[in-house]
Subunit: 266 residues, 2 copies
Amino acid sequence: MKPTKILFTRFLLVFCLILTLFVTQAFQAMAGGRLVDLTHPFDETTIYWPTSKPFLLKKVHEGVTPKGFWYESNDISGSEHGGTHLDAPAHFARGKWHVDDIPLERLIAPGIVVDVRKRALNDPDYLISRQDFLDWENRHGKIPQNTTVLVLTGWESFWPDKKKYLGTDRPGDVKNLHFPGFSADAARFLVKERHLGAVGLDTPSLDYGQSKDFMAHQIFGEANVPGFENVCNLSTLPARGFRVIALPMKIGKGSGAPLRIVAEIN
Amino acid sequence: MKPTKILFTRFLLVFCLILTLFVTQAFQAMAGGRLVDLTHPFDETTIYWPTSKPFLLKKVHEGVTPKGFWYESNDISGSEHGGTHLDAPAHFARGKWHVDDIPLERLIAPGIVVDVRKRALNDPDYLISRQDFLDWENRHGKIPQNTTVLVLTGWESFWPDKKKYLGTDRPGDVKNLHFPGFSADAARFLVKERHLGAVGLDTPSLDYGQSKDFMAHQIFGEANVPGFENVCNLSTLPARGFRVIALPMKIGKGSGAPLRIVAEIN
């Protein structure tokens, strides 16, 4: 064969290989990735704040009707803030987004998991720090803008044991709340220096249990950053390479809402 | 230039063009498509079944706390079945999936819109027919298995006018319900011959207003097909080429649930 012919054949081979790769990738992406549910169910074990109205499922009908067909129906009630739920920015920041104001692009976005279990699991008053995110960046690169930042403290493994998860199982007892949350410095870092899109974790609150001023809530709220609380199954996710799909019940003027949150792994 | 060289150059041009196309497509698909919210908000105008407990948002706190920061919180209550919501198969079919049993792959899947406005808008007792789907298939090809089939009757344009949307605005008045729904024959066709994944429409119910036996509910329920009711903005979607992301509140043993439903257009 002539040298040009050999070159052409080699080129054709490489071309086909690259094309196959991209076509596969495109089809995979369009078909969607593997789905992981990050949501606790709402039932009689669902954990709410000690002062909040818990979830109640009240049976309206369950059985065969006089007309001969099966029929089940229930009423539901509870606080906006309990179980796996959304904190709208308006929860702690006047005039900021309510549930129904949040653009879908903030709720469906690329996500990362920052694993702080080594520091948090032995310290029920752990404050998630700026250093936790810098450590993650050392291994995975700078957190891109508009990322949904999820923090795995390990608290998800205590659910639904109220005493271990909240620090107390007594209704109204807010003095003995103990679980990790974001330090004000970490919240400011994520907002001002990393321009995150949304934030979430596997504890009952963005602020740690002993917080009295709820600074993380205030900082994220002022920046119109939605918060996802009582998230679970974060330990099954990779550090990056997935999309978070976080769809709250669309409560008009809600300060929060029950949230169904799912990861779609690329 | 030699003929081989000319061929090579042309080939290179075509190669670059095709590659660019696929790379663009892959990146677009990975970044996600345009998002459209198909959900009515929950507020004092939200339409519920005349016999159901309506949605209630009860303020717990709104204002500056003694500690000096802003705080808003509410309690919510209502029937599982109202506003934009999910009907779990268990609603009308004993032993079938409750809300928390439904696999995520049934909730996040490729969708189509079947526009029956020409037939339905002048007939508040319209029964969506097998022919409506065959007509769609004549233009767009056979409905693939596991598709989320959405039907646009045009009823979404009457929301939130109860008299027009339900046929009645009197509490408890189920005798005067008038709106389109699926015929039993259409439900059987979609289940047995098209093996759909989920079903939805822009009216209050899978069955038409005057139904007494709720056959569409029974047929879809028996086949473990989740239903999405009081969906909106279907008139803004293409007939196909989008994904439906339908995430209900994860109610343990729920027969239905408030639903956030979104389309992602390719």
